[in-house]
Symmetry: C2
Subunit: 534 residues, 2 copies
């Protein structure tokens, strides 16, 4: 049930007077429900509780935190159709997509539960004592990953479940043993409250410490900055615009005494390299796949393919024709919110009049209905190479074909690329050999290198990297999706010559948790005692 | 042979006109040899070569890079006594210590060679395709760590070998596949040149790409800042003062378009918790160990124990007496350089006159001989708790006893501690139980928690953490010593649906490198093909 209140630990925030509303691009109107902005004292309360909860929560067993995550999943499912209906109203996303995203979010929570039960994510490393070593003995040293402390999570506009209140950042931080304070996204405040209530119920049911989770309503410039500046916050997870991400990055690295890690996923145009033999063999199929990817979810994916590199040829001309036709057939869809819709048409209109740009197709302006219609533009590589503006993201169902006159020009065009979440290569065997240099350049710019598939669709699994060099993210050393995203919220701690009885279970001689550990440089699940001393 | 020239890839820098000199605290004089400051064009040349070398170097096999590291080790050893003699003149450190440090540095290079040969450091993770999965199939996803690109390494004053030209940062970055540009430390320019020549010889002998290593002479404020600002530098390794470290951090995070990781090890006072039963049982032995640790290397270690927490009692009084006596017996030694010597006496003199501070012992002022004499001060916890100035590092053989009147006050005193590289606990079984809260607080502040041993002495092994919360380092998520320090200079890259023939060896189905990999969530050295599909 929607009360319009921030969730603060086991309670709710009732002191606020200012109210925000979500706007529905589906109804074209502001939704009736009021959501009260958390007061400064309420934000302070959430921070205080999070700090107090941190050591208690971090000290729980993996099994205890796994059950908490699973209970969150169950509680989210128990909201039923109310959640999907509200999210549809608040984001314009169709119900089928929202059902899929909800299930993916639930599975993500369960994946982390499985990771916690298996337990090896703590990366236990043990070097046993060598008392007789010359010239000096070696003492017993053991290390593992421990939680960083409270994490501020900034919900994303475009994934109301998977990258929001109980999305990837929250699941990973809770799994790591870090309390979470979510800043709800202004576009889907009702969705946030329903999910936040589910997390709160799970926290109470599982006996989690009060303050392990809060979800606050407020403006980014006030609430967001207050969280980023606060000494009790030890890391930030963010998905959104380059501008907002860099503002948080600057606050977290320069306006605090102690700088903290900022995992901001910001801006990516996801280049696609379309190589000649592949194009001559599968032009129609590739055109259909790409048109689907460019317009999927009205183009509002961080992995939306925004740049298509081709070499001039007859097949290329035919391919572009097929792609243009496929895009023209796509129906327009509701965009996420007013701002995104306005920016989409504004950015497209700037691009269209930019020197060197030709329009291949552009749907009619449906901004009054808050719908995004698809567009395809083209430019010569010579223009692209000298114009960084053409690498600015147009968030929505739009893409830019970059026509290269030679293999050398193609390579130069790839060399000017900024960092990206993904890069896709459509190639047959002969292309892979012929264009290995170009593929190597693309590899150096991306977090995920994809072959003969479109970039949209991010699997939640162990091997996923959803990240990449700046400006795709503020920290290329991590992934925000998949099991290893838990590693963003930990630091290594070493115990030297520590009495066995107070060592964490993960580091005890007998290996009671049955972890894969590295002992004297060798991976093993064996107990320390059972090993031959090296 | 000393030529006074910066090493730039396979050549030397001969254009500089301005010369620097090392100063010897042993002779009390400036040393005769001139070291020419690299010109802006020469710095540019080193950067250009490093960028060009980066993809070539990263693509070498682990075996190739392992041989390079081993050859560096051999070449360093081949310099023989000349290296030790020069380092002694330039740092004042005794020859026995320098021999030990040289051997440790050589072993460090060999450890990384072993890590590269074993190969699992790349953290290969594979999720195989599930074409029949409902509702959607899963594609093949594989990830591993790849090199970040050129790294700037800033040599430290206090470890002319282990944390300098071919020290831990350089070894880890080269192992990861990143070219290195060293900024030589002004204190030991001759030592730098001898080592840099050894690395250059090894690079040429092993056929490494030109530019894989350069070592430049210049001032921090000019050369250092130019390196930190340059877009081609992708990470920074630094060991030194808080001020210099934070200056690099600010440049790297705010004065570049693309912010980069800064691994700055800066400032730590390494608290020691002396618990009652331990003190009553082993007062003399602990006093002897601690006095040795406080004065080891004239106190010029980043792990020097600068704060000693005790609870008031008769045993404590006796212990302090024993510690004072042991410190009084220590001979003064040459300090590393003029600046450090001047700062030591200056900081000590400020501390002495600070409100609440009592002098337990203080050796005579030997600053005219550039020698540091040991000192021990004390303060009541009540003063300590309210005075952050008392947490400023006094770099040298000095320590501060913090006397706590109760268990509660002890805990409060630990709670105000800033981040530290290490925290040591001297405790018997009964202490561990009685003071578990205090130990937990200390644990939350440190990178390494030590029991019944002194903090000086950092083992180069797999389980070491030489790092810790700010301000001990700028990035608590890593270690600068040990095998895992290689992880500072890499990022994860994912290959999706990639043809087997162009996958990196570490990710190929057959597992030709015999790595420990995670396949579908399970650790194994088996080939992908041999696994039952899950």
């Amino acid at each position: 049930m929607l009360n319009g209140l921030s969730i603060i630990g086991h309670t709710v925030a009732t002191a606020g007077n200012t109210a925000l509303h979500s706007f529905s691009t589906v109804t074209g109107q502001q939704l009736a429900e009021k959501f009260y902005v958390a007061t400064e004292a309420e934000i302070e309360q959430a921070l205080k509780l999070a700090q107090e909860a941190a050591p208690v929560f971090a000290a729980l067993t993996g099994e205890q935190r796994a059950r908490f995550l699973e209970t969150i999943a169950t509680e989210i499912l128990s909201i039923g159709s109310l959640l999907i209906e509200r999210a549809h109203l608040e984001t314009g996303l169709p119900e089928a997509r929202l059902n899929g995203e909800r299930d993916r979010t639930v599975n993500q929570l369960r994946l982390f539960a499985a990771v916690l039960r298996e337990g090896s994510w703590v990366q236990a490393v043990i070097d046993t004592a060598l008392p007789d070593r010359k010239p000096l003995p070696r003492t017993d040293l053991r290390k593992m990953q421990v939680a960083l402390g409270p994490v501020a999570v900034f919900a994303a506009s475009n994934f109301p479940f998977a990258f929001s209140t109980a999305g990837g950042d929250t699941a990973a931080a809770l799994a790591a043993g870090c309390p979470v304070i979510v800043k709800a996204h202004g576009s889907h405040l009702g969705t946030n409250e329903l999910i936040a209530q589910a997390v709160q119920r799970a926290a109470i049911l599982c006996g989690m410490p009060n303050g392990v989770f809060s979800a606050l309503v407020g403006e980014g410039a006030i609430l967001g900055q207050q969280l980023a500046k606060d000494a009790r916050i030890k890391a930030i997870g963010f998905t959104g615009s380059f501008k907002a991400g860099m503002s948080l990055y600057r606050t977290a690295t320069t306006e605090r005494k102690e700088p903290i890690p900022v995992y901001a996923e910001m801006s990516s145009i996801n280049p696609v390299l379309l190589l000649p033999v592949a194009l001559s063999t599968h032009a129609d199929s590739i055109a259909t796949q790409l048109a689907g990817s460019i317009t999927l979810g009205v183009g509002q994916f961080c992995t939306n393919p925004g740049l298509l590199f081709v070499l001039e040829s007859e097949q290329t001309a035919a391919f572009i024709e097929a792609l243009t036709a496929a895009i023209q057939k796509t129906a327009a869809g509701y965009m996420l919110n007013k701002t995104i819709c306005k920016s989409y048409y504004g950015n497209k209109s700037s691009l269209k009049t930019h020197p060197g740009i030709t329009v291949l197709t552009e749907g009619e302006d449906l901004s009054e209905q808050y719908k995004g219609s698809a567009a395809l533009f083209q430019v010569n590589a010579a223009n692209f190479i000298n114009d960084l503006v053409l690498q600015e993201e147009v968030f929505g169902p739009s893409s830019l074909v970059v026509r290269c006159s030679s293999k050398e020009e193609l390579k130069r065009a790839l060399e000017v690329l900024q960092g990206q979440l993904t890069g896709s290569v459509f190639a047959e065997q002969a292309d892979l050999t012929e264009f290995s240099d170009a593929i190597a350049v693309m590899q150096s710019r991306v977090g995920r290198l994809i072959f003969n598939q479109v970039p949209t669709g991010v699997e939640v699994c162990h091997a996923m990297v959803h990240g990449g060099p700046f400006p795709a993210t503020a920290d290329a050393r991590s992934t925000s999706v998949g099991a290893d995203s838990i590693q963003r919220f930990v630091r290594p701690l070493c115990w030297q010559n520590c009495p066995e009885e107070i060592l964490p279970a993960a580091l005890k001689n007998s290996n009671p948790l049955q972890l894969m550990r590295k002992i004297n440089g060798i991976y093993t699940r064996d107990a320390v005692d059972s090993l031959v001393v090296l």
